[in-house]
Symmetry: C2
Subunit: 563 residues, 2 copies
């Protein structure tokens, strides 16, 4: 019943982190393979259970037999649409869920999906259900199929899903999103601890399509697709299953390529995140998803916010030339999870085309430069988020309350004046009442304004905080590689590697550096675009806001008699 | 040496208020006649010292002999300009300080001043020194004459000058000013406890000019002068005396009638306040002066604020048709202090011209109406002050700090961006730096704005708080009179008053009601003018403020590239 694994490297558990110390050569039992973040839960021969880095072990490929029920060995792609199925049907015909390949998708893969029993062409993530009609929202319970059971098992058997505990209450804004991702990276360093020598000394670099890097105007750049993939995350709907005992939110995801919507739940996005992190995390910052939130999950505003953030995350992933061309968008779930080109091995798929190998000094300098920059920007972004957060609180809390009180005070005084019994009072009292109402309106404007401008500034910085939080790990891989290459002579002298292996290491480190430079240039170009856009939007809305206040006050002023 | 006085009515000291219980017929020694607020300090035969209401006693007119020195019985008008005099000259020729009467002053009195030895015509308050040359500021020490010594004695021998203790620290804004006046009225209720029967049953109503009340469009109104007296309080200068041991601030007071400046210190204003309160307080709200402030007296901002408030107080007094026509502006200090037409006796000088006597029901209704109105307005004004005060704190404290931090955060992030090494960064970073600087400028604008708008709104409301704080006492006098008139039949039956005295009481209560109505109409007309003006000014400045912010942000926005 249990999956066994061989331990490849020693791993010392960090106390208090639910980790399990293992030694090279040890055989362990995998008790939960779906922890995510590069970790699996395992039990050793002494019966101790804990987390072990995925990359430190080799899972035995002998799979348990199908046994009917929720643990069925389905190899359904995560991105298949979910058609209703009777709850008693343990096995669902995969083929029914397959969809034709989407024309226009960037870098459509030459590898056709495996494991499709009917021979249909692709399980594209962005396409609608098999029969060709758009997969609109099917109502609560419609999604209550075997897929959900499988996903739910992941959830229930886990217990280590750290993000569940991060934000157990009120909605956070610009706070926990990014930091929870950092926690994830710190706690589940998966790829970063896998050691770059896996790639530097790999005998057989990965086969298949290579990711080219070209020399652009700004330096090394990724190959950008002609068509920019994007998708729209919209129309969140509440669904429930198990006769209402379990409920969830489903989002409609529509790729710009096909314009056909598919429904997805948060955990489905989470699966994609885990896959992309495993596969690209060493080379490309894969920001974590918006936080899970346990309480108030169905509050309208929270759902809207999560949807927006899922949209932001999806758009960022779609915008990335390497990530958007990934097979992970199309491959079946089981197959994607079996992909061996994960961790540092991603560099084996990168090909700096016609670019000279860099010397180690330059590699190191670039690495240091990016490290400094991302650290400094991370500080700057966090600073702006802290300030923005406080400003948000003031703008939605005490400030409008004060304007409202000023408005009420004017109106109140005006009401008192009307009781004076003095003639010729009305012009003043009417004007004062109008002025009071104006300040009440201003109060409302002030309270609503952050949603119109600060929100986007915060969200953009929040996204960048998430991205920047990934860089220490990404850069860490590079630094480790550099250290390894520096040991080259020593290793040759100790006959641990051959001289040609040493040369190969340097060449591969150069490839890693090109990859980092391409990624940094991608990051910079996006950053300039994003900050230019968000600053413009912020200032534009601010101008409108202040102009509208001035106009309101001008009207209020005009009601007083000139003396 | 000491002034003796006969007690006219029983007075029971309120415990803890430094008061002295006295019985009718008792002889007491006056130990300090300059307490103010209708009180004197006295010692009884058992040696106990405390405050006694001025109106409850009759001071023996036997004056102590001149004795050379600071206690010299000078009868210099408070409003005489202060010409330098040798410190050893105990007696100064009063006549030298007399000035010719000012043409154009409202209701110039037919009574020429008494006690002027040279027969010169008037000691007008607003005129410059005797010799006809304008009395410009004469530098520190110039004012160090007998006047100051006398004033200082008042101060040092007192010890009951409550306002010294009211505001012993930081500058207050809209807070203590009005409330200290209320304290003064509560603690030194002088006129309000004097009992309206003094006037209602007075054998010989006051001689001299009567203050007429006419029927105007809005009801009974005071007679308004053709020329509106006003004065400018300006040019505060620090002076010192006793070789720098004592220092003070002198303000230049220039009446619009003569345009000739006189220098005055705070305590000189205070003397005028006390005189006006004694004389008119029963009929007209005489707001107290701005608070004294012991610490930080020479801080620039405090001086400016006090000057502004003294200006406001002076203007309000000048604007009042009854107060501005008062002899107190011209009379010598000693003479003014000997004026017997104080307290409720002021009503004896009021003459409703050609107006029918009001019946008691109407008198009572009017009184109730004004009582309700002033109470409601007092609440409204205090509410607005509290809110304004909080708003002031926010606008000068946390809010600009936040804008500044936003500005710094933008600039900081921009500075980080410049280190990216990425080409084409400058357009964004220049624009972001400019946006950051704009928010720093906005921070400064926000912090400075309250001085431009909220300040005047606060000051006006503060003034009204002071005025409204006087009404309970003014109205209290009326209510007491109404009660007395209601007892009329009983008193006649008990042979305490004659039937004709009863009729006289009703007639005089009617006069009091006309006086109150005239005062309320004056108050309403001023109120409408003041609030119309201040609301307009506030909104105008607010419009400018928001427009300027919008304009600054528009400029900042224009620096970003359109995409």
């Amino acid at each position: 019943m249990e999956t066994k694994a061989q331990v490849l490297y020693d791993f010392a558990a960090e106390p208090g982190n639910n980790e399990l110390s293992v030694r090279e050569g040890e055989t362990i039992s995998i008790t939960n393979q779906n922890i995510g973040g590069g970790w699996v839960e395992a039990r050793n021969s002494r019966g101790e259970v804990g987390l072990v880095p995925e990359d430190y072990i080799e899972i035995n490929q002998a799979k348990p037999l199908p046994s009917g029920g929720s643990a069925a060995p389905l190899d359904l792609s995560f991105f298949d649409s979910h058609t209703p199925a009777p709850a008693s049907t343990a096995q669902v015909d995969v083929a029914q869920k397959e969809t034709p390949v989407t024309p226009g998708l960037p870098s459509s893969s030459p590898d056709e999906p495996e494991g499709t029993e009917t021979g249909k062409t692709s399980n594209n993530a962005w396409q609608s259900g098999g029969t060709g009609h758009p997969q609109a929202y099917q109502g609560p319970g419609a999604e209550d199929d075997e897929w959900d059971d499988e996903w739910d098992d992941v959830k229930s058997s886990g217990g280590y899903a750290e993000s569940d505990a991060v934000d157990g209450g009120a909605m956070n804004r610009g706070g926990a999103h990014g930091s929870s991702m950092k926690i994830a990276l710190n706690k589940f360093p998966g790829f970063s601890k896998s050691g770059p020598e896996l790639y530097l000394l790999a005998k057989q670099p990965a086969k298949g399509t290579k990711l080219p890097i070209y020399m652009g105007e700004v330096g090394p750049v990724w190959a950008y697709p002609d068509y920019q993939l994007d998708c729209v995350v919209a129309d969140p709907k509440k669904g429930s299953k198990m006769y209402g005992l379990k409920s969830y939110i489903e989002y409609q995801v529509t790729p710009t390529t096909t314009n056909k919507p598919v429904n997805h739940r948060y955990k489905h996005f989470d699966w994609l995140y885990e896959r992309l992190l495993d596969k690209y995390g060493s080379a490309i910052p894969i920001p974590s998803l918006p936080d899970k939130q346990v309480t108030g999950r169905f509050e309208e505003e929270f759902i809207k916010m999560r949807m927006e953030r899922l949209q932001g995350w999806m758009s960022r992933m779609c915008r990335h030339p390497v990530v958007s061309s990934s097979e992970d968008w199309k491959t079946g779930k089981r197959k994607a999870e079996k992909d061996e080109t994960v961790g540092v091995m991603v560099f084996a798929t990168i090909e700096p085309e016609g670019l000279q190998d860099l010397d180690m000094i330059e590699v190191e300098q670039k690495c240091e430069q990016f490290s400094r920059f991302t650290k400094a920007m991370d500080d700057g972004v966090k600073d702006l988020l802290t300030i923005g957060n406080e400003h948000w609180k003031r703008c939605t809390g005490p400030l409008p309350k004060e304007y409202q009180r000023i408005g009420k005070a004017f109106q109140n005084l005006s009401a008192v004046f009307t009781t004076s019994g003095y003639e010729g009072e009305a012009t003043l009292t009417d004007a004062m009442t109008a002025a009071g109402k104006t300040y009440e309106e201003i109060a409302q404007m002030v309270a609503e304004q952050p949603k119109k401008d600060l929100h986007f500034l915060m969200e953009t910085n929040n996204e960048y905080k998430g991205l920047l939080g990934c860089f220490p790990d990404t850069i860490g891989v590079h630094k480790a590689a550099i250290e390894k290459v520096k040991e080259g002579d020593k290793l040759v002298a100790a006959s641990k590697i051959t001289s040609s292996e040493k040369t190969g290491m340097a060449k591969r480190a150069s490839t890693m550096s090109y990859s980092l430079q391409a990624e940094m240039n991608h990051f910079h170009s996006n950053r300039i675009y994003d900050y230019n856009r968000v600053m413009q939007q912020y200032l534009e809305e601010q101008v409108k806001f202040y102009e509208k206040i001035a106009e309101k006050l001008r009207q209020a002023h005009s009601q007083f008699t000139t003396m």
